[in-house]
Amino acid sequence: MADPQRLERLSEAEAKPVRRFGKWRVGASLLRLLSPLAILVLWQLASLTGVLTPHILASPLDIAKTGARLVASGELVTGLGVSFLRVLAGFAIALVVGIALALAAGLSRVGDILVDPPIQMLKAMPFLGLLPLFILWYGIGEAPKIGMVAFGSVFPIYLTLHGGIRGVDRKLIEAGRTLGLNTFGIIRHVVIPGALPSLLVGVRYGLSIAWLSLVVAEQINASSGIGSIITYARDFLQTDVIVVCLIVYALMGLLTDALVRLIEAHTLRWRSW
């Protein structure tokens, strides 16, 4: 956005309001921190005065301490590693399957007729409700958890890429043909890059669903991973541990999202200059 050359070309008079606007924005975002901080303070006060007992919800300070303890003991890191691998495996499956199906449906009429209807039907299913079936099919090992992650996140990937392929400018495809590109060349140089922005939206959305699926799947049965830490903490009424784990889930969601944004910023640099 802030092109230094363009800013340079602005005269002093024109540049000033921009800077003032920038300062105002920093001030505003600081202001926006005010109410969350106030809530934290009230929460801490409620815990200190005994209004909020630790069995309902631990105090912010206790949660912070517990977080530090779990990190130091390595418990959290180990659990996080396991959970992260589940998301990675499930999401990788969703990515491969979703992209393959979207290419099949997006690039050929026959593929569209064969592939799209069943996916549209499956999409209507509340996929979290499928967990009991997954457990029946796969038992309680890694398979149902990875399967849930894959199943949940395959739809956004398929749907966005399918739409993206459909939306590729026909004029560019024609231009590719007049340049002598064959079908494979058209797919590689025109269709895939043209559909990439849509796919990346789907990847981001799919990742958030992947973490959500994992949270649900790990609640039901887990002997390792963050889910098992939560289950254990629930049995011993450790609300502080539960909150720490939820924060970790949230952070992981944010982190993977930021990663995709980074990839987005690099691969789509042609549209922001």
Binding site: L172, A175, G176, T178, G180, L181, G185, P193, L196, W273
Partner: protein, 247 residues
């Protein structure tokens, strides 16, 4: 000698009425032909057949193998740099320096690594022209390539096209709405109407052609009248090089 482009009895229709109705067209190697006609008269339809984008319904079509087309819009792949766009579909074009030469031809070397979305309209159209020329076409098809440019840029582009035509010697078929553009650039002007060529004019005027030249001005007025545009100071000149084609 057989012509570079030899079309006999070409027809193409959408629905009931034919857009192109048994058209004959010959273009010699290196010839510059302009195609005029009212909106919807089928000019783009003809060019798309020549570019190989559409099939003719009927007719015999002989075309050279190396053909390029430039459309009204540049149609650059926005995710490829200017140089990568020009290299598209031409193996080894970057390595062999052909891309650099093409960029130099259209005076765009300084923008070779730019993203197409950052180009001005004229720059983008020049990049499209370079992308067409790098394929060393025997037949260059231009479908109103300057229509969306401002008047000054259009003049520069016309000069550039003429210069590059002389340098590379492709046969050119230029579709345009701008009658004066046809008069200044073309060896031969065709007017398409109701699916047939209604008019064929051999333009035997010296270059550069100026509006102050009465012959050129008269030809322009005549063609405008042919296209149904009445001019206020319209004098009927007879042009000896122009012939009516009876349907």
């Amino acid at each position: 000698m057989s012509a570079l482009v030899d079309i006999q009895g070409l027809s193409r229709s959408f629905g009931r009425s034919p857009v192109l109705d048994r058209i004959d067209l010959r273009i010699e190697a290196g010839e510059f032909v302009a195609l005029l006609g009212r909106s919807g008269s089928g000019k783009s339809t003809l060019l798309r057949v020549l570019a190989g984008l559409d099939e003719a319904d009927a007719g015999r079509v002989t075309l050279p193998k190396r053909r390029s087309i430039v459309f009204q819009e540049p149609r650059l792949m926005p995710w490829k740099s200017v140089a990568a766009n020009i290299a598209l579909g031409v193996p080894n074009a970057r390595a062999s320096g052909a891309v650099a030469l093409a960029l130099d031809d259209v005076e765009l070397s300084h923008r070779s690594e730019a993203w197409p979305l950052t180009l001005s309209g004229g720059e983008a159209q020049r990049a499209a022209l370079a992308r067409a020329l790098v394929r060393e076409p025997e037949l260059l098809l231009l479908d109103e390539p300057f229509a969306s440019l401002d008047a000054l840029t259009r003049l520069r582009m016309q000069g550039l096209v003429r210069e590059l035509w002389r340098k590379h010697q492709p046969a050119v078929l230029l579709v345009t709405h701008d009658v004066w553009e046809a008069v200044t650039l073309a060896d031969r002007i065709l007017v398409l109407e109701d699916g047939r060529f209604r008019r064929e004019v051999h333009v035997a005027l010296n270059h550069p052609r100026r509006r102050t030249d009465p012959h050129a001005a008269a030809l322009e007025a005549e063609l405008l009248a042919e296209l149904g545009v009445e001019q206020a100071d319209h004098h009927q000149h007879h042009n000896p090089h122009s012939e009516r084609i009876e349907p």
